[in-house]
């Protein structure tokens, strides 16, 4: 388990202020709204993660379980992303290496 409960209620947490001034979803869009703070999300996965992170203390056991599943599911996407990022780093490194060897 690589996460802990996120109890941050500082200004950087997305739950501060009145939701209406911070968020803006047009009426014809399908949104997944948080049951605790009404913040809308574009995907169900984001809402599940949000509930587990920002409402860890008040949510139900089922929601915690859903959060844990979503978090590990996210881990798989992240592994793919890491490969791409490392690929990007390698490209950047060799790109500069070759450019330097040609130019200088």
């Amino acid at each position: 388990m690589t996460t802990d409960n996120h109890t941050d209620d500082g200004p950087a947490s997305a739950t501060d202020g009145s939701p209406s001034t911070n968020v803006d979803a047009s009426a014809d869009e399908t949104t997944y709204d948080c049951n605790y703070c009404d913040r809308p999300f574009a995907r169900e996965q984001y809402r599940t993660l949000h509930v587990g992170l920002d409402h860890h203390d008040e949510c139900t056991d089922a929601e915690i379980e859903a959060f844990q599943d979503a978090y590990s599911e996210e881990g798989e996407e992240i592994r793919l992303f890491r490969l791409k990022a490392i690929g990007g780093l390698v490209l950047l490194y060799f790109g500069f290496l070759f450019t330097y060897s040609i130019v200088t």
Binding site: A12, D24, L92
Partner: protein
């Protein structure tokens, strides 16, 4: 768990160091050589700048590999608080030092020697205060609320407590900051002690009247550009004064929350701070001098060129940042408003501004330290030909390092802030793409300015 986190952290630090060394080692050396000897770069300028941009891009990729929320938060929250009761004697002493400093600047500006290298007012304002003191604010902590002589004066007067027009937000401070830099750039404020004293007196008058009208609390937190610059720079520092003591954090980590950035006008102030620091350097590069001569040769008035470029550059910087916020909203698939994202990701820019200020002013401060100490020890008859230090050739490389370190801190801070805002970790990473693009362009601009030789701006 503890060991796992520590291992990951050590790995991250090592990776960043290796990346910086591999990608930029050569460019540092050559850039440094350029500055000191005036010789041409061993690598073409475009490659040098691309390398700087590449370092920022690579650092972002490295930061994005850290996807453990616990680690991100642990680095963010690392620190402690020192319980320290507020001693009134410190406040009183600070106020006295501040007011005495202001009085000395006004007195020696009018009566002191006309040679700026011997005049206490010029040396205290530019070397002591705007270079040295500002560094202490972002490297150590913001002590300005204790020193602020303007506030001490305002608090001695009765306050009218007029209602501040809320719709103005912090825009007056944005205008004030840009106006101050305009005065600084176009007038010989660093050469003419009398003029400096007049400007300081005018600033004091405006501030005292404004502060008395709207109340010191309101004026110094919303309108006064100098207090606001210090309070934002102080956010970069590791030490912060809180109600019951001192809060210690890793440098820059206080920037992960958007406290103090409550409206778009405050975002504009941060962007303006970044822009004016850049503009201050931009007007001294040879290419600027050529462009200005061209524009004036084509019939444009000199002031129009300077004012136009100062305002135009700000609009460009701010526009690019706002555009990045809109792009970030799309990429991160969020319903948070762009203005909200702009507020969350504006504080990291302060680390960039601080890095650039350090690059720009550390050499200036150190080389002019002897005249400052000479004038401080004997303000009435300072030595007639004070010595100044000449910075060694490797110093240019150090300046480039400061610019890059500022960006690296900003990238990490933005990464941590994004993890706070977005529930999805990939969502947080994607939200940073547009901001990183803006940062890459910005790094290249500032590296270019720092690596160019410095000349006097024309027609001033």
């Amino acid at each position: 768990m503890e060991r796992h986190v520590r291992r990951q952290f050590c790995g991250l630090v090592a990776a960043v160091l290796v990346a910086v060394a591999l990608l930029s080692g050569r460019a540092f050396a050559h850039g440094g050589a350029l500055r000191s000897s005036g010789e041409s770069l061993a690598v073409p300028t475009w490659l040098f700048l691309a390398t700087g941009g590449g370092v920022v891009g690579a650092s972002f990729l490295l930061a994005s590999l850290v996807t453990d929320r616990t680690l991100v938060r642990r680095i963010d929250e690392y620190g402690s608080t020192l319980a320290l009761s507020r001693a009134r004697v410190v406040d009183v002493f600070g106020s006295i030092v501040g007011v005495a400093g202001l009085a000395a600047v006004l007195w020696f500006g009018v009566r002191g020697p006309t040679d700026p290298f011997r005049n206490l007012a010029v040396l205290v304002v530019w070397v002591g205060w705007w270079a040295g003191y500002v560094m202490s604010v972002y490297l150590v902590g913001n002590t300005w609320p204790t020193l602020n002589p303007f506030r001490t004066l305002v608090e001695l007067l009765p306050s009218l407590e007029l209602a501040y027009p809320e719709r103005l937000g912090s825009w007056p401070s944005v205008a004030g900051l840009i106006a101050l830099i305009w005065v600084e750039v176009v007038s010989p404020l660093a050469d003419d002690p009398q003029l400096l004293a007049q400007v300081v007196a005018a600033y004091t008058a405006v501030t005292v009247v404004g502060g008395a009208a709207f109340g010191p609390e309101r004026w110094f937190s919303t309108v006064d550009p100098i207090s606001r610059v210090f309070s934002y720079y102080g956010r970069v520092a590791p030490v912060e004064r809180i109600d019951d003591g001192l809060s210690l954090r890793l440098p820059g980590m206080a920037l992960t929350d958007s406290r103090g950035v409550d409206s778009i006008s405050e975002v504009a102030f941060i962007v303006a701070l970044l822009w004016v620091t850049t503009y201050d350097g931009l007007v001294t590069v040879p290419a600027w001098a050529d462009a200005t001569r061209g524009a004036v040769g084509a019939g444009l008035p000199v002031q129009a060129v300077y004012v136009g470029s100062l305002l135009g550059g700000f609009v460009l910087f701010f526009g690019a940042y706002v555009l990045a916020s809109y792009a970030s909203r799309r990429l991160a698939e969020t319903y948070l408003r762009p203005a909200r994202l702009a507020r969350n990701f504006a504080p990291p820019l302060l680390a960039i501004a601080a890095g650039y200020h350090l690059a720009h002013f550390l050499g200036y401060f150190l080389s002019l330290l002897p005249p400052l100490t000479a004038a401080l020890s004997d303000p009435f008859s300072p030595p007639s030909n004070p010595l100044t230090y000449v910075m060694p050739s490797w110093f240019g490389g150090l300046e480039l390092t400061f610019v890059l370190v500022g960006h690296l801190v900003a990238i990490w801070v933005a990464h941590a802030a994004a993890y706070d805002v977005f529930p999805g970790r990939l969502q947080a990473i994607r939200s940073q793409y547009p901001f990183i693009l803006v940062m890459v362009i910005y790094t290249m601009v500032s590296l270019w300015i720092v690596s160019e030789p410095s000349v006097t701006p024309p027609y001033l």
